[in-house]
């Protein structure tokens, strides 16, 4: 099997998995909300309501497509498309598991291991705002424009603190920007230098502050509660997607869930060892290599599902910020803490070595 064919299969598979997880996230979100509010949640379509996402999808496709008369039609359609493309693009640099081996050749479970991996993530995330801005403006609606402006200023503000928190992680891995290297570094060495459990040398044990900052910024970048001011339905009637209907609205909603999935994957890779799990070396001695690879992929997805659950848990627990509070948190609290964290990490590495 040539490497190009393998990568092509991986890309298609990732696309389908992202869409599938996004679809079932909508179901999971309702079930989690129901659980937290002591309700039952969707249970009519199929056993336990498992066919609910499919029913929702069919509904979205069959609804009437309305393009406002005074809107800019080309940009109106371009908005959700750009949003969807940018959310799907990030998954290219995430290592999903240990490499597979077929006939002496290794196939990395990662579409592209580029040496600027984490910068690529930050770059693509910063482009996500165009989908929202273009869509919000093209709607020719005051509420949509307000939502779009809120979204973009929020995303620009939180990108800085996010980048700063990542710098601390980069210092830990000798300045390598490749996500694959960051994940591999967390699978080797002893935790705190003396706890000898293989595959447990996770960054979160060294960088809890950076993790918290990154998590908060990921919530803000994905426009999730408590930072969902761009769409706050009570004041802005849905914000940037007020005028959207049918599958174009579906793309925006879907994009948000894919964002959540990708953010969870990035958090797992940067702070929770990616596909590494305790005892990965021991398992490698008693099981064939490909078996361990498959288990590592499952572990990776387990971590991702936990963080998706965390996203939902927070959404149904914490109320929305006010806009000035949001800005103050981003610029006056998270930014300084992130900078101090970077300086402390650098000082610690210089003084005590790794």
């Amino acid at each position: 099997m040539s490497i190009i064919l393998f990568k092509a299969i991986l890309v298609v598979l990732l696309f389908l998995i992202s869409l599938g997880i996004a679809a079932y996230s909508t179901y999971a979100e309702r079930k989690v909300a129901a659980f937290l509010q002591d309700r039952i949640g969707p249970d009519r379509a199929g056993p336990f309501g498992l066919l609910q996402p499919i029913a929702d999808g069919v509904k979205m496709f069959l609804k009437e497509e309305i393009i406002p008369t005074m809107s800019d039609k080309f940009l109106f359609i371009l908005g959700p498309s750009v949003f969807m493309v940018t959310t799907l693009m990030v998954s290219a640099v995430i290592p999903w598991g240990m490499p597979l081996e077929f006939g002496g050749e290794t196939y990395a479970l990662q579409v592209a291991d580029i040496n600027i991996g984490i910068l690529y993530v930050l770059g693509v995330v910063s482009l996500g705002v165009y989908g929202i801005m273009i869509g919000g403006w093209a709607s020719n609606n005051k509420y949509a424009l307000l939502g779009a402006i809120r979204a973009s200023s929020q995303m620009i503000s939180y990108e800085l603190a996010m980048g700063m928190s990542v710098v601390a992680i980069l210092l830990m891995t000798n300045g390598s920007l490749s996500i694959n290297n960051i994940v591999e570094a967390q699978g080797t060495g002893k935790l705190y230098g003396f706890i000898n459990v293989s595959g447990m040398n996770w960054n979160v044990f060294y960088q809890p502050v950076a993790f918290l900052i990154f998590l908060i910024c990921a919530f803000a970048e994905a426009n999730r509660t408590p930072f969902d001011l761009p769409e706050s339905e009570s004041e802005l009637i849905g914000g940037f997607h007020t005028e959207y209907s049918s599958m174009k609205l579906g793309l925006y909603l879907f994009g948000e869930y894919i964002n959540m999935f990708i953010s969870s994957a990035i958090i797992a890779c940067l702070f929770f060892g990616g596909y590494n799990f305790p005892g990965i070396d021991y398992l490698g001695t008693i099981l064939p290599h490909n078996m361990v690879s498959i288990i590592s992929v499952l572990v990776m997805f387990g971590k991702i599902f936990f963080f998706i659950f965390l996203f939902m848990w927070v959404r149904w627990t914490i109320p929305r910020f006010r806009y000035d509070q949001l800005m103050r948190l981003g610029w006056q609290i998270l930014m300084p803490i992130a900078i101090v964290n970077v300086l402390l990490t650098a000082a610690a590495i210089t003084l005590f070595g790794n």
């Binding site: 040496n115 600027i116 910068l119 910063s126 482009l127 705002v129 801005m133 273009i134 402006i149 973009s152």
Partner: protein, 166 residues
């Protein structure tokens, strides 16, 4: 696909999008074409194996500056109906400065000698580690001076914004 073909596609895209920036009637479309132009230039950087430069170009220009630009254009709500008619003096001044620009360009073009095309060898000087090394050893002083310049600009912006309040 040969790299030459990719280069020609990228070059055509950058020139076309740059032309559309100038010729678009709607300022929003101008901004969007400029973003496309930045992307094709980032593509050129990748072709030269300068990945760091390419991604920083996208993060800084396409990701931050153009968002602010789009922001401003959207809020200004420019359209043809409210655009004021420009007086004759402005048009004359624009024509004269454009002509002078053409003159300078022509003069400089006349005296340049076209060198032989040398195919760029494979180089790793555009990788993050190498750029960082050069930036923090050889070009440390200019690098620090730029950051001072940025701080000055930032403080200036804050001062200007604060004045409005009183």
């Amino acid at each position: 696909m040969s790299s030459q073909l990719i280069f020609f596609i990228l070059a055509a895209l950058s020139i076309m999008s740059a032309l559309f920036v100038v010729f678009s009637k709607n300022p929003i479309y101008s901004v969007i074409w400029l973003i496309v132009c930045f992307f094709s230039i980032a593509g050129h950087y990748i072709m030269l194996n300068a990945q760091f430069l390419a991604i920083v170009h996208i993060i800084v220009y396409a990701g931050a500056i153009m968002v602010l630009m789009l922001f401003t254009v959207m809020l200004l709500n420019l359209n043809k109906a409210t655009e004021p008619h420009k007086p004759l003096l402005y048009k004359l001044a624009a024509m004269v400065s454009g002509g002078l620009m053409l003159l300078v360009l022509l003069a400089s073009m006349r005296s340049t000698q076209l060198g032989e095309y040398a195919s760029p060898a494979y180089t790793e000087s555009g990788f993050v580690q190498n750029v960082g090394m050069v930036l923090f050893t050889e070009f440390l002083l200019p690098f620090e001076m730029t950051s001072v310049l940025f701080i000055a600009a930032m403080i200036g912006a804050v001062v200007l914004a604060k004045k409005e309040v009183h």
